[in-house]
């Protein structure tokens, strides 16, 4: 055991640049046992990068390593791989799940760390022929789940679990590591329902009581105020605020993050024009989207409005656009501009000038290995033959590089996408900036109708209003009918004309955005199953 007086973690003068682009400048962070550090900052501030350095991710070494010094437990460390970090007692829960779908929670929690029993054969042929000790496995998994403080069924197979429980399984996996001293959570609450997020905060508290330190990265600042005792705010690769949580509040943090006061978005909506024609009419829609099942949704969208779809997580609001756009098995009828659009065929939707910003940017959103230009212009080129120069009456077409660059730069500017140039690869952007690219991509399509699903997921407080403003601009200037799906009611109330609340897979009611939160709240829980 090293020096007991030394702090658990000290990161000194951490610097990191990607190909000459300095993203971390002289970061200093100190953490003691049982500390809960809230780490926040604008999109692209360098939070994820800092955590990757701490966790020894290969990506860092592959892009030229980092500068500065990390001391863990009083000893200088330099992790070559996540396994080194794990051995030292650092755990990290990533945003993407890394779980084996057909295994139970127990098997996943102890994946590759199963307690074993020796036997004669393994004496001869090596340790991998030891048999699993199932009793011990159950014991340890239950132990970890108890430590976590949120009850999940250790015998349940991952594939049958709701999203939130998967996240908890991952956390339990980290907790089951006996030597865990520090747990890194990078935006863990983004996919959780409200009550699950509360439970997560609760379990962070109980971890800290047991002496485990936690670094908690999030864009939801209230969460930081509830659980953290330390707050570090980053901006442009610098620590701009490092204080104890009791000395600050959400407002101050926000100000430190964006360098100015952020006023809450105020709704400039003029209300839906009731006499406008119906542009999309949805009847008896069902969608089989795991965790977001739609049972029976009927809904009319008026031309030129911004319609919000809200509701609690898991009630089916996300299923509506995903089903209509053909990403999940769906049934019912959807009539768009007088024509019925066939379900289960994404291409048909795109052809009829409907665009979709998916909430799952990793799954279907981006071509990660391609440039920003390509990502933004490609769909418009593919579907609408935009950005193509024509010669000989269209016999020969080639890409209009200049127009492509222009439109990309326009959106980089409008959405303040943080990148080195329009030729940067999408995978090199921070999570929040990737989300902005997804939005820009569908804006460039200039569709008649846009579904924006969780458009501000992973986007920082400062940039949220930018994104919403851009949506509104698209609506007003280009006359695009927009349907925004979001779990944040305030966001919907800020931008929409009307809001439909989905509960239990059905539309529980539609209200104008000006109605009070209480009325919306009642609708949200009205049909929950």
């Amino acid at each position: 055991m090293a020096n007991n007086n030394a702090p658990l973690l000290e990161m000194k003068n951490i610097q990191k640049s990607f190909y000459g682009n300095q993203v971390l400048n002289d970061i200093n962070i100190t953490l003691n046992e049982g500390d809960v550090l809230g780490l926040c900052g604008e999109n692209g501030a360098g939070k994820t990068t800092l955590m990757k350095i701490l966790f020894g991710m290969e990506e860092i070494a592959e892009t030229g390593g980092y500068g500065g010094e990390i001391c863990f437990n009083g000893e200088k460390v330099d992790f070559k791989s996540p396994f080194d970090a794990l051995n030292a007692g650092i755990g990290m829960v990533h945003q993407e799940f890394s779980l084996i779908p057909g295994f139970t929670a127990t098997e996943n929690i102890l994946l590759n760390r199963e307690p074993l029993k020796r036997n004669v054969i393994s004496e001869v042929f090596g340790d991998r022929l030891n048999t699993l000790n199932y009793n011990e496995m159950t014991g340890r998994a239950e132990n970890a789940i108890e430590k976590m403080g949120f009850k999940i069924d250790p015998k349940m197979v991952i594939a049958d679990m709701p999203v939130g429980h998967k996240q908890f399984t991952e956390i339990a996996r980290e907790l089951s590591k006996e030597n865990l001293r520090l747990l890194i959570l990078d935006e863990p609450t983004a996919v959780l329902t409200e009550s699950e997020a509360d439970a997560l905060l609760q379990s962070i508290k109980s971890m800290s009581e047991r002496g485990v330190a936690v670094i908690f990265v999030t864009h939801r600042l209230e969460e930081i105020m509830t659980v953290c005792n330390k707050v570090v705010v980053m901006r442009d690769g610098l620590v701009v605020m490092d204080t104890r949580a009791e000395d600050t509040d959400v407002k101050k943090i926000t100000k430190a993050m964006v360098g100015r006061d952020v006023e809450s978005v105020d709704n400039k909506s003029v209300g839906t024009d009731e006499t406008a024609e119906t542009i999309m009419s949805i009847k008896n829609l069902w969608v089989d989207m795991p965790g977001e099942t739609v049972r029976n949704v009927s809904l009319d969208v008026k031309k030129g409005e911004i319609l919000g779809i809200g509701g609690l997580a898991g009630q089916g609001k996300l299923g509506v656009p995903n089903g209509i756009m053909g990403l999940y098995e769906a049934g019912g009828t959807v009539v768009f501009k007088g024509n019925e659009i066939p379900l289960n065929s994404p291409r048909k939707c795109l052809d009829s000038n409907i665009a979709f910003v998916s909430e799952d940017r990793r799954g279907v959103g981006l071509l990660l290995d391609e440039t920003l230009e390509w990502n933004i212009a490609f769909p418009a080129m593919q579907i609408q033959n935009k950005f193509l120069k024509k010669l000989f009456g269209g016999l020969i077409k080639w890409r209009d590089e200049k127009a492509i660059k222009e439109v990309t730069d326009k959106y980089i500017d409008e959405l303040q996408i943080k990148c080195t140039s329009s030729k940067q690869k999408a995978k090199e952007l921070s999570g929040g900036n990737q989300q902005k690219i997804c939005l820009a991509k569908s804006f460039a399509l200039e569709p008649e109708f846009l579904f924006a699903s969780e458009p501000t997921r992973g986007i920082d407080v400062g940039a949220k209003s930018l994104v919403l403003e851009a949506l509104r601009k698209l609506n007003k200037e280009k006359g695009v009918t927009v349907v925004v799906i979001s779990s944040e009611l305030e966001e919907l109330r800020g931008v929409c004309d009307r809001i439909a609340i989905v509960s239990g897979g059905e539309v529980a009611g539609i209200l104008p955005a000006s109605k009070s939160s209480e009325e919306f709240g009642q609708l949200m829980v009205s049909k929950v199953i």
Partner: protein, 365 residues
């Protein structure tokens, strides 16, 4: 009622074969004892080979068409042992031992290749088996004699080198099947062979509970996740292939010992194809197979095999039809099973949708 339909749908392949068998067996007019005897013989002859397919399925590598490599290793070992004029159980044991290094080498090779062709394992292993067949023939036709000494003229081709079309093991004929065997009401029970097969089943059950088995299951479901948990994915997959190939080698020795002769240049291919077909008939799929599937498959598939020529003759008057029928069935079963696997995958997706639509209709009424 719904459960019954579900059950029928899930087990459609075995059920189809049960129906076909129950029609064909009476037509053939064979006696019960004869049928049981024949089925028992074929069960003991083939079960081991089919069991060798289970481990790659567990590791997510699909149906191992590369098991023919193991069969080749077994054949090479038998040829050598026969040439050395060793007989009886020692010969069988020696052949098994001798097949191990060859199998391991072939398994390593196949495993390495399959690691380069992830998610296209089945096609790749099929092609590898073709490629290896060429090398095997080269070895048997030209290397056996000049390079690897072969003395015995009963094995050698008359021209002085190369191996004859059929290698006979008459002297070893069923030496394992006959050990400890007894007969009940005219049915011969080859106790030792059954014990060996039972041991193999126990091994597989035990293996599933080992760390290596667990790793294989993890790798089979999601390679990336397994890798990020620190499991050596490539190595695990190679080990799965090696185990399967070695087991197929043993299986082939047992198979030949029962038949007492084999055709040098084609048995291994047939053996591979029939083993895969039988497993599929037993209700296994590309990503899931159990020991139960193995035995159900052997029994159904070979019952049909036994009666097919006779039934063919009875119906059409031509015995060739039955012969043709056998081969046709095997290929058809494999093809159908692969197609059904795809369809099932898609159906599972749309099934949930149907339920939702039904629920909606009910509510409206």
């Amino acid at each position: 009622m719904k459960n019954i339909i579900e059950f029928l749908k899930k087990n459609i392949v075995p059920i189809m074969f049960i129906i076909i068998c129950s029609i064909c067996v009476p037509i053939s007019g064979f006696s019960v004892t004869y049928m049981i005897n024949e089925v028992m013989t074929r069960l003991t002859r083939n079960a081991f080979l089919i069991l060798s397919l289970l481990i790659p399925i567990m590791a997510g590598m699909g149906l191992n068409f590369g098991m023919t490599l193991g069969a080749m290793a077994g054949e090479i070992a038998i040829v050598l042992v026969s040439d050395w004029q060793i007989w009886g159980i020692p010969a069988i044991v020696l052949a098994c031992i001798f097949s191990i290094p060859i199998s391991i080498l072939l398994g390593l090779f196949c495993g390495k290749m399959l690691n380069m062709a992830k998610s296209r394992e089945m096609v790749t292993s099929y092609i590898i088996s073709f490629f290896m067949n060429g090398i095997y023939m080269l070895l048997m036709l030209y290397a056996m004699g000049p390079i690897i000494p072969i003395k015995h003229t009963s094995i050698k081709l008359p021209r002085g080198y190369g191996i004859r079309n059929t290698v006979s093991m008459l002297n070893n004929r069923q030496c394992i099947d006959n050990a400890l065997a007894f007969s009940v009401g005219g049915v011969k029970i080859p106790v030792l062979t059954l014990l060996i097969i039972a041991a193999m089943c126990l091994f597989i059950i035990w293996f599933r509970k080992t760390k290596l088995g667990q790793d294989m299951r993890a790798v089979g479901q999601d390679m990336e996740v397994a890798r990020s948990a620190g499991i050596d994915v490539e190595k695990t997959r190679i080990i799965a292939m090696v185990i399967s190939t070695v087991m197929a080698g043993f299986g082939m020795v047992l198979y030949v010992q029962n038949l007492s002769s084999f055709s040098t240049y084609s048995s291994h291919s047939n053996v591979g194809m029939f083993a895969i077909a039988a497993l599929l008939v037993g209700g296994a799929s590309v990503d899931k197979a159990s020991i139960g599937n193995v035995f159900l498959g052997v029994i159904l598939f070979h019952t049909l095999f036994i009666v097919a020529p006779t039934v063919g003759t009875k119906i059409t008057g031509d015995s060739m039809v039955g012969e043709y029928f056998r081969v046709f069935i095997s290929y058809a079963v494999i093809t159908i099973a692969l197609i059904m696997y795809e369809i099932k995958k898609r159906q599972q997706k749309s099934n949930a949708g149907k339920l939702l639509a039904e629920a909606q209709n009910k509510e409206e009424q």
